[in-house]
């Protein structure tokens, strides 16, 4: 649920503006026909009557093609999110493959940002150019002169061919979700978020001033750069690296819930699963040989767990009303990749570890992290 809100807010803020910079041309093209036909009609009417019927800016007629364009775009991206989620589900990526994928996306985003900032022409290799025949088709459709709603609808669908940097990041998240429904909902929320900016700009001004556009592009580039660095960092975290910015930040703010009390967490006698209480509320005091970790919307508590070396352990993950990516739990060094229920618990067997070993764990996006330290 939090991701969906985040996707919507990203769309509403940076996503909307960044997409407008890339796809604004298509929207303008689809509106050009309407403007032209309105102008022709008003000139004709003005000739017949002695009034000046020039329509005021923002007339309702203009809202229809904008609306159709945005609706087509929304449907196309939702369908794409569904397909990507399905692809992610079919080809279940291992944590390492996902980490590599995330780092590559990060590198792509950093390259795109440097391209947007015009650092060097070499970064243009990070631009996605549709093939010439698609560009020609787009141009012809836009200039076909028919003011029918098919044009904005077609061009709206075609925006999937020119996703902006932030959209590309969102598409990657849809793929990583590994669930067609989540992928579709994520893309729906994000694209819906971008719509008001598109609508407002197209309806009231139609074009950003050149000066504003330049500043805006710099701002968008910096956002993409930061997101790119974040993606690389979370990729490194997901690969199980003990050193990363995300871990540094997470460790700087250790979770301080009751479960982090060393007396509770340190070794307790292990009992078979059948003898243990099932309710997360009543079972905070874990048994010996069991590590209990609360899965929360904003991470794991505790996120630094001390455990006994040289003996098998059970890790018990408890979630209660959680809807964040913390539910997708990963232990890279063991190849563990589990999906928790929003409310429930999950047990993971931990084989004996050497004294002094550190076993990092994280969510599947590498955003929320923690570590088990085998110190005794």
């Amino acid at each position: 649920m939090i991701e969906i809100w985040l996707a919507f807010l990203t769309g509403l803020t940076t996503g909307g503006l960044s997409c407008l910079a890339v796809q604004g041309g298509l929207l303008a093209s689809s509106l050009a026909n309407q403007i032209e036909s309105d102008l022709r009609q008003s000139t004709r009417t003005a000739g017949k009557r002695k009034t000046n019927p020039t329509p005021p800016a923002g007339q309702p007629r203009m809202a229809v093609p904008i609306g159709v364009f945005l609706l087509a775009k929304l449907l196309a991206y939702t369908a794409l999110g569904f397909l990507l989620g399905l692809a992610g589900q079919t080809f279940q990526l291992s944590p390492l493959a996902r980490a590599v994928f995330q780092v590559l996306i990060g590198v792509f985003m950093i390259g795109s940002a440097l391209r947007m900032l015009n650092v060097h022409p070499i970064f243009r290799i990070f631009a996605i150019e549709p093939p010439a025949f698609i560009r020609r088709r787009l141009r012809r459709v836009a200039a076909s002169g028919s003011a029918s709603l098919a044009t904005p609808a077609f061009l709206g669908v075609l925006t999937v061919l020119i996703p902006c940097g932030i959209t590309q990041a969102m598409l990657a998240a849809a793929l990583a979700s590994g669930n067609p429904l989540t992928g579709a909902v994520l893309m729906f929320a994000f694209t819906l978020g971008t719509s008001p900016v598109f609508f407002a700009v197209a309806y009231f001004a139609t074009r950003l001033g050149a000066r504003l556009e330049k500043h805006f592009m710099r701002f968008a580039a910096l956002v993409v750069l930061l997101l790119g660095l974040f993606a690389v960092d979370t990729g490194i975290t997901l690969a199980g690296s003990p050193v990363s910015l995300t871990r540094l930040v997470n460790n700087a703010f250790p979770q301080t819930t009751a479960a982090s009390d060393p007396a509770v967490l340190e070794l307790q006698p292990y009992q078979p699963f059948s003898q243990q209480g099932n309710s997360p509320e009543t079972d905070t005091a874990a048994d010996e040989g069991t590590i209990t970790i609360q899965v929360l919307n904003n991470g794991y508590a505790p996120n630094v767990v001390y455990a006994k070396a040289g003996t098998p352990l059970k890790m018990r993950l408890v979630s209660k009303g959680v809807y964040s990516c913390a539910l997708a739990f990963v232990i890279p060094s063991l190849g563990v990749q589990e999906m928790l229920e929003p409310t429930g618990e999950l047990w993971i067997d931990i084989p004996p570890q050497k004294k002094g070993a550190r076993m990092p764990f994280s969510c599947s996006m590498g955003m929320y992290t923690g570590v088990v330290v085998f110190d005794s």
Partner: protein, 74 residues
Amino acid sequence: MTRNIILHIGDMHCPNCAMTLEQIEDTLQGVQQAEASYQKGRMRVVYDESALSEAEIRRAVEQLGYTVTAVLPG
């Protein structure tokens, strides 16, 4: 007679610029094909020499807000 030239374009900021430049295929009489590449920063133009001159193509590109840094035979 058909001629093929490659224009090196300055001031291209995004892939959308390629689409803008390729408009000359529809708007400039005598242009048979125009294919621009943002990545390479250039545009290949195939045109009818009897209907259009190189200078006119250059002017059309500049009117779209871009600079032509060089013109080479394609």
